[in-house]
Symmetry: C2
Subunit: 316 residues, 2 copies
């Protein structure tokens, strides 16, 4: 699959070579973009690993060198680092350069970066809604974004050509692109990503703190449902700390809703109201089906886990 050069950037800089940055680097080469990729990471160990893996055409030793002469700089670091990076790189950006990012919170991304950019540069934040529980340059892979959605959140008055180029870039990487304002993005992602992560972290913490149930028991009998939550709760702690600090209002608002709904179920259990439980449990079933029909998850039972798939069984 090759893409016209016009849809890409001659010189792309990736700041932060974790799961997402490393996957972008791989995807750019895999889909045949003729883009020159420069990589920079604040960690020397990561820079060395990126060289070993051959993920970029150039691995820069400084942020300044990484962004000079770049047509598009994508920040792939935790959102809490954006302001410092924007300040440090701003004087070295080429006029007309596009600055983008992959952060999970967009209102805060704009607030952190926009004030520091030179007038002739264009800020076009984006958020590829994709990932795994693994972190670091080794965790990335070229097809991570394929068939997933990427949300682009241009600030008011953003340059239309710059927005189109960022949209085209993500389309070239295999994503479906949707444009919305940052505030709406933050509310949507609070539901589809931030609250699920917060809840998963919480229940895994609760389980490991019990006096009457040992951790060994939690581990052994986790196939009853708990193990699903541990996957999400194994995600990068720094990234997720920053997400919650930077999407506070939307997260607290959805959390309040969740708490009300959980309290209602708690009450139904206490009073033995089987109908209330059955009604909710029936209603949630169709959402799974819709997600599968929309190509956003596998239809295989148990996510197609190796240990529990019909195809592995002797009788089918």
């Amino acid at each position: 699959m090759s893409v016209p050069q016009s849809q890409s950037f001659n010189h792309l800089t990736i700041i932060g070579l974790g799961l997402i940055g490393g996957s972008i680097a791989r995807a750019v080469k895999a889909v045949g973009l003729s883009t020159h990729v420069t990589a920079y990471d604040a960690s020397e160990a990561v820079r060395d690993r990126v060289r070993e893996l051959g993920l970029a055409d150039t691995v820069a030793e400084t942020l300044e060198a990484a962004v000079a002469d770049s047509d598009c700089v994508i920040l792939c670091t935790p959102v809490g680092t954006f302001e410092g990076i924007a300040q440090a790189m701003a004087p070295h950006l080429k006029p007309g350069a596009i600055v983008s990012d992959v952060g999970s919170t967009k209102g805060s991304a704009i607030a952190a970066v926009a004030p520091h950019l030179p007038e002739q540069c264009h800020l076009v934040p984006a958020h590829p809604v994709a990932g795994t529980e693994n972190s670091g340059p080794d965790a990335g892979f070229a097809t991570l974004f394929k068939g997933r959605w990427c949300i682009v959140t241009p600030p008011e008055g953003a340059d239309e050509t710059a927005v189109a180029r960022v949209c085209d870039f993500w389309t070239a990487l295999g994503s479906n692109v949707e444009v919305m304002d940052a505030q709406h993005h933050d509310r949507v992602l609070a539901v589809t990503s931030h609250i699920p992560h917060l809840i998963a972290y919480t229940i895994v913490g609760t389980a490991s703190d019990l006096e009457q149930v040992t951790e060994s028991e939690v581990i052994k009998f986790s196939a009853g449902g708990f193990r699903d939550f541990t996957r999400i709760a194994a995600s990068d702690p720094t990234m997720w700390r920053d997400v919650f600090l930077n999407n506070r209002e939307a997260v607290l608002e959805i959390l309040q809703r969740f708490n009300e709904d959980l309290t209602a179920l708690q009450r139904a259990i206490r009073w033995g109201d089987g109908d209330a439980l059955f009604n909710l449990f029936s209603r949630t079933r169709h959402i799974r089906r819709t997600i599968i029909d929309a190509g956003q998850d596998t239809a295989r039972p148990d996510f197609g886990r190796e240990t529990a798939t019909p195809s592995a069984a002797g009788t089918e």
Copy 2:
């Protein structure tokens, strides 16, 4: 893999041919037990389907016929049906027959079944901690129990030979067996299974009730974490209603702990306490690793979902 006849039952009856009952029927044949399997389901449509699939040697038309002459009867129906089934089948059980079940709540299973059994029969409840989100006779597969734990919860004074035979049966099906008392089982499973399901049902319900985020947006952007919860929330509504009605005390107790922990995180977010968030998020990571090391989940990122595995990428 064949198993000595002494470890099995000459005549096994499965009541309820859903995911678990259907998987037991398949597994008995797949591992080479020479057991005669009789199946009974209250639904005529399920009985017909069991015949079409050839899951049992005999498909009985009545509960009475199904249990007569059986060495072991396993109840694989929702736990709310146990009392009625026990009452109805008791007069037809063979002296010395073992009655077992696969219910997710064990205290209630004993309370519902034990009072109705003839003196010469043996109650040995069990709970295979395994399953998928799918239901019905077509959802079962022979390897469902392989490498998973099965918890056996004999009531006080249970016949030791009968307990050993039930343990051996599950070992033959590939499970690791652990024996504990019913009360402890109910507390452990509240953590590893019941609360995770309750939370998943809740958040999926909350997400579908929002005014400012459409269901279409929830579906599209579910790859951020939400989609994992929808799998569990697609589980059988009747079974799960009965679980919560029958393990009320343990569920409400763990739920209280979870609520406290979630409130603490909520407060940390409101006050911008990044250290509190980071500390929890770091602490939960090792539990995932331990579960994988214990063979209770796959190490592949994203559960090895087809759409997001390194092996599907072009660059690795």
